[in-house]
C-alpha cells in the first residue's frame, strides 16, 4: 500500500489515496496542445458540453415521460410542456441540443478532413469518431420517435422498413426489430430503452475511447507539422514558453475553448428561446396514426444528405431495382467516411490547400452535401428527382475517385 500520512489538506488526503496530482498533470496541466490551432479545434469541447446538456435535460424529461403508445404523446405535449415547471425549457433545450450537436459534429468531421487529421497514425481517432457519429445518429433517431407524433411514427416506419431490404432475412428482421407486425408499443418501449440507457452509455464509453486515441499520436495542427512533443514540452517546463510549440491544455488552451464555447452557447440559447421551432416539425404535433401517412415524409435536417442518397436512385438501372440500388448507395454513404483514412493514398499529412486535387475534392464534397441536404427536404418529383440523382451519383464518385486524386497530388509533390 502507498504510504499514507496525516494529510494537511483535503487535496493531500485525496492525493495520497487517488494520486490526483499526477492524474491532473497527465489529463490536464501537462497534456500538450500545439499552439498553431484555430477555433475549429474547439469543437471537441463544444460537443462535450452539448452532450452534457443532453444528458442532464434528458434526465429531467425522463422523470415525466411515459413510454406507452397511449400516454407518450400527452406526457410530452401536455404534462412536460404545460404542467411541469420549466418542462418546456428542458424539452426545447433537449430538442435544440440534439439538432445543433449534429451541426458541431459535421464541423468537427469536416475540419478533420480538411487538415488530414484522420491520416497516418491518427486512424483510430477518426474511426472512434465515426463510431460516435453512428451512435449519435442512432440516439437521435430513437429519441425522435419518443414523442409518438405522426412524424415520429412514420420515421420509425420508414427506417425499420429499410432493414426489409436485406436479402433473405429482411422481412423477419423488420418484425423482430419492431417486436410487432407494425411499429407499435413494443417498438416504442425498446427504442425508449435504447435512447435513455444503452446508446448514452455506449456514447460515453466511445467518448472515453475517442479521447484516449488522441493521447498517443497527439492532436494535428493547422500546418500538419510533425511536432516532437517531448522536446517541446521540456522547453515549456524549463520556462521557454515563447519558443515552445506546445502549451498545456489546462489552464492555457482551455481558455480559448471557453471563448468559442461562450459564443456557441449564445447561439444555442438564442435558438432555444427564440427559434426552438426549427427542431420541432409541425407534423409531429399530430398524435401518431398508423392508418394515415403524412403527405411528405422527411427526416431531421442532419439526416437529409444520406436520405437523399437513398432516394436519389428512383429508376431501375441494368436490371437492378431502384429500391435495391438506393439501399446499397445508402449503405455506402454510411460507411464511406469511415473508410476515409484508407481511401486517401497520399503518404503525407497536409492541409487541403497544400494538396490541389484534394482541395478541389473537399469543396466539391461540401457543395454536394449541401445540395443533397437541400433536395432531401424537397418533394422528389420532376427536376428535383434528377438533381437528387446526380448529387447522389457525384457523392459516390467522389469516394471512388479519392484514391486516384490523392495519388496524383502525392506524385506531383514528389512524395
Amino acid at each position: 500500500m502507498a504510504k499514507i500520512e496525516k494529510a494537511n489538506s483535503l487535496g493531500e488526503w485525496f492525493d495520497q489515496r487517488l494520486n490526483t496530482t499526477t492524474f491532473t498533470k497527465v489529463m490536464m496541466t501537462e497534456y500538450w496542445i500545439p499552439k498553431d490551432i484555430n477555433f475549429l479545434w474547439a469543437m471537441g469541447v463544444l460537443l462535450a458540453v452539448t452532450f452534457k446538456i443532453l444528458v442532464i435535460t434528458g434526465i429531467f424529461l425522463m422523470m415525466y415521460y411515459k413510454p406507452d403508445v397511449n400516454l407518450a404523446f400527452d406526457s410530452v405535449n401536455y404534462t412536460i410542456m404545460q404542467e411541469v415547471a420549466y418542462g418546456w425549457l428542458f424539452r426545447h433545450m433537449h430538442g435544440v441540443a440534439a439538432s445543433v450537436i449534429f451541426l458541431i459534429i459535421y464541423i468537427h468531421m469536416l475540419t478533420g478532413i480538411y487538415y488530414g487529421s484522420y491520416k497516418k497514425g491518427r486512424e483510430m481517432i477518426w474511426i472512434s469518431g465515426m463510431l460516435l457519429f453512428m451512435t449519435f445518429s442512432a440516439a437521435g433517431f430513437s429519441g425522435y420517435m419518443l414523442p409518438w407524433g405522426q412524424m415520429s411514427y412514420w420515421a420509425a416506419m420508414v427506417i425499420t422498413n429499410l432493414f426489409g431490404g436485406i436479402p433473405l432475412i429482411g422481412d423477419a428482421l423488420v418484425v423482430w426489430i419492431r417486436g410487432d407486425f407494425n411499429v407499435a408499443d413494443a417498438t416504442l418501449t425498446r427504442f425508449f430503452m435504447l435512447h435513455v440507457f444503452l446508446l448514452p452509455i455506449s456514447i460515453m464509453a466511445i467518448i472515453g475511447l475517442h479521447f484516449y486515441t488522441l493521447r498517443i499520436p497527439h492532436v494535428n495542427n493547422q500546418t500538419s507539422e510533425d511536432i516532437d512533443y517531448d522536446a517541446e514540452a521540456e522547453k515549456y517546463l524549463a520556462g521557454n514558453k515563447k519558443e515552445s510549440k506546445v502549451i498545456p491544455f489546462w489552464p492555457v488552451f482551455i481558455s480559448k475553448d471557453f471563448a468559442v464555447l461562450g459564443i456557441f452557447l449564445i447561439f444555442y440559447f438564442y435558438l432555444v428561446f427564440f427559434h426552438y421551432n426549427f427542431a420541432m416539425d409541425p407534423v409531429n404535433f399530430d398524435p401518431a396514426d398508423n392508418m394515415v401517412t403524412p403527405a411528405h415524409i422527411y427526416p431531421e435536417w442532419y439526416f437529409l444528405w444520406s436520405y437523399e442518397v437513398l432516394r436519389g436512385f428512383f429508376f431501375d438501372i441494368a436490371g437492378f431495382k431502384a429500391f435495391d440500388i438506393g439501399l446499397a448507395a445508402f449503405g455506402f454513404a454510411n460507411v464511406a467516411f469511415l473508410l476515409l483514412p484508407f481511401l486517401d493514398r497520399d503518404p503525407d499529412i497536409l492541409p487541403a490547400h497544400k494538396r490541389p486535387m484534394f482541395f478541389a475534392w473537399f469543396w466539391v464534397l461540401m457543395v454536394d452535401l449541401i445540395v443533397l441536404t437541400v433536395y432531401g427536404k424537397l418533394p422528389p418529383t420532376g427536376a428535383n428527382a434528377w438533381v437528387g440523382f446526380f448529387a447522389a451519383v457525384v457523392f459516390i464518385l467522389l469516394f471512388v475517385a479519392l484514391p486516384i486524386l490523392t495519388k496524383i497530388d502525392a506524385k506531383k509533390r514528389g512524395a
Binding site: 420508414v158 417486436g179 407486425f181 407499435a184 411528405h296
Partner: protein
C-alpha cells in the same frame, strides 16, 4: 491428450467451451426477448364482411395494426390473377403499405398513389410507376361465405399467392 497440452490448458479450453455454450444460449434468449409477444401473435385475426362493399370504392380495415385495402372491382376494371372471386364479384385484398418504404398510398380515381416517393399501384395492386419494387403485398386470409378472415391461410389465398409468385 498430447504431451504439449498440460492440465491448465485443458482447464482453459473447458472453461472457454462452457462459456461459449452459455454465451450462445443467452444470445438465443436475447433474440427471443425481442420477438413479438404471444398476445401480439394471438391478436392477428380480423373478419371482413364483403357483401356490403360498393364496386370501385376500396375500404380500409385494420389488421395487425396495418391497413388492409379491400376493393370490389367494378366492371371496367382489368382482371388479374390475384382477383379473389366470390360468386360473380372480383375482389382485391392487399396490405395497404407501399412496398417501397411502407407509407399508406391513397386511392385516387382508379389507382393507389403514394405521396412520399411517388409510387403508384393499379386497381390490382400492381406497381405501375415510381420506386416500389413489387406489387402491394397479399395478406394471408381465408374465405368463409361472404366473409374473409385475415390471418388464416385458406386455399383461395394459397392459389392467389402461387399465381403472384409465377
Amino acid at each position: 491428450m498430447s504431451n504439449n497440452t498440460n492440465r491448465r490448458d485443458f482447464l482453459g479450453f473447458t472453461f472457454a467451451a462452457v462459456a461459449a455454450v452459455g454465451g450462445a444460449a443467452s444470445l438465443v434468449g436475447m433474440k427471443q426477448a425481442w420477438d413479438p409477444l404471444p398476445s401480439v401473435l394471438a391478436g392477428g385475426f380480423t373478419n371482413v364482411e364483403l357483401s356490403g362493399l360498393k364496386a370501385g370504392e376500396p375500404t380500409t380495415v385494420m389488421w395487425r395494426g396495418k391497413p388492409i385495402f379491400v376493393l370490389k372491382k367494378s366492371a371496367e376494371m382489368e382482371k388479374s390473377e390475384r382477383d379473389l372471386i366470390i360468386g360473380n364479384d372480383r375482389f382485391i385484398v392487399a396490405i395497404g403499405l407501399c412496398t417501397h418504404l411502407g407509407c399508406i398510398p391513397a386511392w385516387k380515381k382508379s389507382t393507389w398513389k403514394c405521396a412520399c416517393h411517388g409510387g403508384e399501384f393499379d386497381s390490382s395492386g400492381k406497381q405501375t410507376f415510381g420506386p416500389p419494387p413489387r406489387p402491394l403485398d397479399l395478406p394471408p386470409f381465408s374465405v368463409k361465405g361472404t366473409q374473409i378472415v385475415l390471418g388464416e391461410e385458406g386455399p383461395e389465398y394459397k392459389k392467389i399467392a402461387a399465381a403472384m409468385m409465377a
